[in-house]
Symmetry: C2
Subunit: 336 residues, 2 copies
């Protein structure tokens, strides 16, 4: 077993896109677990748009990562050494061990020992990503059969699941993605009724045509001009699940809100910010329903896996350049 | 009795502020009621920010006024001639008779024959204005004792009532208005805990000081930079009652939404567009509660009355220049 741990440290807050030198890869000795602790080796690191938010010193839903700290990130790990009564070597745990090969912990979520799906499923459709789609759509979006649901970043980790749950609930589901190829993937593999490439010059017209009865629910992952085109088409009492605003996370200065903001008033829409951490006490509901949907094939999932901790900053950028589909994971070490 | 009726016609859609020639005052014969109709003489015409919206050919909550039509407006009238079994001369009715001296109608809301309050009360605190404050705050704002409620346009018809209901519910109530004099009025006469002049250069700092525990509810009547300063201070799970955006109604082009839009996500806020027409089926709740609050002095109201139909366009502008406090009415003829 190696003796040194590699860690990505937040050295400087990015201005706009992440630049060389914002994060620094350092080495430190692998620590020994103290009493009540265990040492886990990370297998998969979750790369998420919210990682970029955590790097900024802005008002946000948890404290930003401090300069000099290991970058924060969700992880799936295997316990290697333990002085904790509930965790033994070989246990697979999910947690927030950060951008490093090894981490000490005294608490984590243990995966069931008998698993019907491969490990990456627990970092995507059965993990926080799937739970985000599940609670965001069902609890705030409140889909009803026959309604029209629009999902931005439809080929992404959350969007692809949202649309499929929408189909299960009887909605007409229209995805939005950044390439024709992604759109074909969304329709052919995830079963959306339609998917539109927002880079088309006539996107607003295409959206109007794809939503002939207007838009009842918008599951919003992107923001920016796409959101404006959506707001222009919302129906009375529309619900906007505000889950992400990735179009703005790399902004260097203040970003205006949607120009069609007044539509929220005119259409008496309900817009609600959604972050999965508020729903952790209700995860049991998700665990009861989602695994069955995946096992019986109603919900498909897609994972893009890159390899090597040293790739973390470059891999994260894929989320902002449209370089991945489905859940983006970085594999740091082999599955046991 | 005169034979001619005066009517303000929408001749041209305003671009920006209402200009001479957008509305034209014309004369037409006073019509005779047909079978099932009655003729009413308008006593009070309600002037509201939403009148400006109705003049624009934009996406809105009801059809815009057509060019060549009598301008739409809420009214309190007295029946003069009737061929309707339920309405007799002398009845006082509220309705939407528009910007004219006389109008025919076949339906209207009859005021109770025995009234404890003067007629302008039925066009303000006991009318749509009061109902807007009541349902918007209670149904969407959901105030709880000890929470901080911020109300923009606090000296206005809706805002002044919202804040007083907030006090009844045990909130700390902070108003926002456009002059120091209005702010004194809001605190001294309506009992708000504080009121801030948004024209002060350090308004954002004053807002932060006045809301040391953050903002739980924003009853939004204004929009623009004031809303941004509010969003910067909202608490987790804040409620934004989006009731009006008067700062933008005279805009000549697209207006950006709030720059702090992402705060709605970070703080998992609930923003909902509110227009009183959705609550008309529930007016009985309001009628059951509000008159008592006014009679026992818990809710005070304020009315600015101008006189003369010919003044309508100029009087409406007062709402956009901060020239009135409380409910703005135009008196067209004498009370019976």
């Amino acid at each position: 077993m190696p003796t040194m741990n590699r860690q990505w440290i937040l050295a400087r807050r990015p201005v706009g896109e992440i630049a060389a030198g914002d994060l620094e890869l350092r080495e430190a000795p692998i620590p020994e677990p103290g009493d009540g602790e265990f040492l886990a080796r990370t297998i998969y690191l979750s790369l998420d748009p919210t990682n970029r938010i955590w790097m900024s010193d802005q008002d946000q839903y948890m404290p930003p990562v401090e300069l000099g700290e290991v970058m924060r990130g969700g992880t799936l790990s295997v316990v290697e050494r333990s002085r904790h009564p509930d965790f033994k070597p070989g246990d697979i745990v999910s947690g927030v061990a950060g951008w490093q090969d090894y981490a000490l912990a005294h608490i984590a979520q243990k995966l069931p020992a008998h698993r019907s799906l491969p490990l990456p499923a627990y970092m995507s459709v059965l993990g926080m990503t799937g739970a985000t789609a599940y609670f965001g759509l069902l609890d705030i979006g409140k889909p009803k059969a026959g309604e029209t649901l629009v999902v931005s970043a439809a080929a992404g980790a959350v969007g692809s699941i949202v649309g499929q749950i929408g189909k299960l609930k009887g909605c007409r589901v229209v995805g939005i993605a950044g390439s024709d190829e992604k759109c074909r993937h969304v329709v052919n593999d995830f079963g959306f009724d339609a998917c539109l490439n927002y880079k088309h010059a006539n996107f607003a017209q295409e959206l109007a045509r794809a939503c002939p009865d207007g838009i009842d629910i918008d599951f919003e992952n992107v923001g920016g001009s796409i959101l404006d085109d959506i707001l222009a088409r919302i129906n009375l009492k529309a619900r906007i699940v505000l889950c992400g605003l990735i179009a703005t996370y790399n902004a260097k200065g203040p970003v205006p809100g949607p120009y069609n903001f007044a539509q929220l008033l005119m259409k008496r829409a309900h817009l609600e910010g959604f972050i999965i951490i508020d729903y952790l006490p209700r995860l049991a509901e998700f665990w009861q329903e989602m695994p069955g949907w995946v096992e019986d094939g109603h919900i498909k999932y897609d994972v893009t896996i890159r390899r090597g901790l040293e790739q973390a900053p470059e891999a994260l950028k894929l989320l902002f350049t449209g370089g991945n589909t489905g859940k983006l994971l970085l594999q740091l070490s082999d599955e046991p």
